[in-house]
Symmetry: C2
Subunit: 342 residues, 2 copies
DNA sequence: CTGAAAGCGCTTACAG
DNA sequence: CTGAAAGCGCTTACAG
């Protein structure tokens, strides 16, 4: 391992000077700079990140805290895209990303304590947005640079990046209303996630504003869909007054819905229309292609990293809640007239 | 920030003693141990990871190097699962994971150099398995602990974890042969990926051993499928002697195939059977559910981390190539008799 | 069982 | 423009 001292010796200067050359310090002669740089190149010098970190008290590293397994399974399908957005910015800004997972809640606390209080990272991106997250409490207590992707309650000061899920769901429902539907159902997700709460609220709001009453039986629990879309759909489609359209909590669940309906012999969108959320890559490859609210996943990630780095570097208290615009992508699953190509 | 010195002062001992208590050194009296631990607790001490790292010359961190964007898009859909496997083990073994991405090849080299030669990580998990990967060359040259998920050529000594893709594809093809198919086609992936090469080879091998000739027109390019499954399928289904079964490079592409066939009015599996690879979570939610070779994605990740940590800690040269067993999961897309439930 | 000292590889006032 | 010295927070022979 070649160190700054080795370079100093070889170049006939002091370690301080080498250090200054590395950090492009202003008052170093051009001659020395060139000489030192050449020797660093020759000897294959690479600065020791840990040593630098120790004295600078900054790690140039951010942590991403993953939600616990199975908790937000659907996230898997846009996680890659989210990560790509986060990394695109953090790499540009010169930060590395540390991935932190936790199996149990206690574990999670320990991991975070170690990373945050052990000064292993400069900031944290939280992906989980459970209600009353103890992690958020911990990070807020230590005033540690944090940005949340999602929304939480009771912590108004934490910087967050999110979709306006109430509005997104309102828009999706309005789309169905515009298609002439009045009997619109909703396939819900895990009730402890704010995204579930918000999307359900947007749906209710749109129905209410349209003067329509929601039949409680139109609300289907999507958590049981993965393995029994058939049964869940069978129930809702066999009530006396079945919905003619469904708003589905996310694309993955929509696949389950589609499959359940298929098995039951219902045609989408002929017998029933569908619209869902997130617009994962596979949504357009479904048969029929699924209408979905695109939440700009990449942008969510990119912005999260951007806000976090700004918070770290400038200690700038940017506004707490940052909304990334969404956009409904209408495909076959929600329009009656299908024009087949060919 | 409370340091080891602060604790030492408060406990009336030397920093050395505090350090020994932290690392559970043997010859420390029970009394001192308890006292120091109590004070650490009271003062909220957390060891500075960077300082420890600097002296121990070990970072307790691994890096995952992501393939370049768009290069292995399909990976997105099992990336979460892979990551979960890697993290499950690395967390247990006490290692953090650093995520490294790169936009350009040059960038990639720089990032790796910085991480590896700057001693920021103790080992590297490579996800990309391109032919002739320059990264592999670099890591091999420095004899840096590395494990590759996938297969490469020309580096026989690098530790790798992989599916036997030739065999997996052989099995998938055999399954089709057993179903009575003789005109079996293949939808290929990016030709620079070894996984593409291997799966195509397994298919050819099975066909050859069955004494069947492959019509070159049965080989469809899956790279154009995402947005024009229709056109690709239209071509292959309109040749004079169309296939009655298709082996598809991965599940995501299979969705595109399914959609293309759907638009053309072909029924799966009635008109044509399908089988693909990876068994992503959505495969069973397709309509019809897609038969797919399960490659134990989680296990691939878990094993990769396991082998890497062993290599780091014991400097054990485990065998180069480690195969994780696969298993064909037969679903509706490849069996003629469909028994609908209900 | 415990402490003083040296050192990991770097940075940064301070002095010239 | 450059160097000597102190220090970041920890560990670890060495000595007792």
């Amino acid at each position: 391992m070649v160190t700054i001292k080795d370079i100093a010796k070889a170049a006939g200067v002091s370690p301080s000077t080498v250090s200054r050359v590395i950090s492009n310090h202003s008052r170093i002669s051009k001659a020395t700079t060139e000489k030192v740089k050449r020797i660093m190149e020759e000897m294959g010098y690479h600065p020791n990140v840990m040593a630098k970190s120790l004295v600078s008290k900054t790690t140039k590293t951010l942590a991403i805290v993953l939600p616990r397994p199975a908790e937000e399974l659907f996230q898997d399908f846009f996680f890659g895209e989210l990560l790509r957005g986060i990394l695109a910015h953090s790499t540009k800004a010169g930060y590395d990303m540390l991935l932190a997972a936790a199996t149990s809640p206690a574990d999670e606390q320990d991991t975070i304590s170690r990373l945050v209080l052990g000064r292993r990272v400069d900031g944290v991106v939280l992906l989980s947005s459970r209600q009353n997250d103890p992690l958020i409490k911990l990070l807020a207590k230590h005033e540690f640079p944090t940005v949340l992707i999602g929304r939480t309650e009771g912590h108004d000061t934490i910087i967050s990046v999110d979709t306006d899920n109430v509005q997104a769901s309102f828009d999706a429902t309005t789309h169905m209303l515009n298609q002439g539907h009045t009997k619109i159902g909703f396939v819900i997700g895990p009730p402890n996630l704010t995204v579930s709460v918000d999307r359900l609220a947007g749906y209710r709001k749109a129905m209410e504003e349209a003067g329509l009453t929601i039949n409680p039986e139109w609300i289907v629990d999507g958590e049981f869909l993965q393995h029994s879309g058939y049964r869940a759909m069978s129930f809702v489609m066999n009530i006396p007054d079945p919905p003619t359209a469904l708003i589905v909590i996310d694309d993955v669940t929509a696949f389950g819905v589609l499959r359940g309906l298929n098995e039951l012999g219902f045609q989408v969108p002929h017998d029933i229309s569908l619209v869902s959320f997130n617009n994962i890559a596979l949504a357009e490859l479904a048969s029929p292609a699924i209408s979905s609210v695109d939440i700009s996943t990449y942008q969510l990630g990119y912005t999260a990293s951007h806000l976090l780095v700004r918070r770290i570097q400038e200690n700038l208290a940017s506004q707490a809640r940052n909304i990334i615009p969404h956009r409904l992508v209408v495909r076959e699953s929600s329009i009656k007239e299908i024009h087949k190509r060919g």
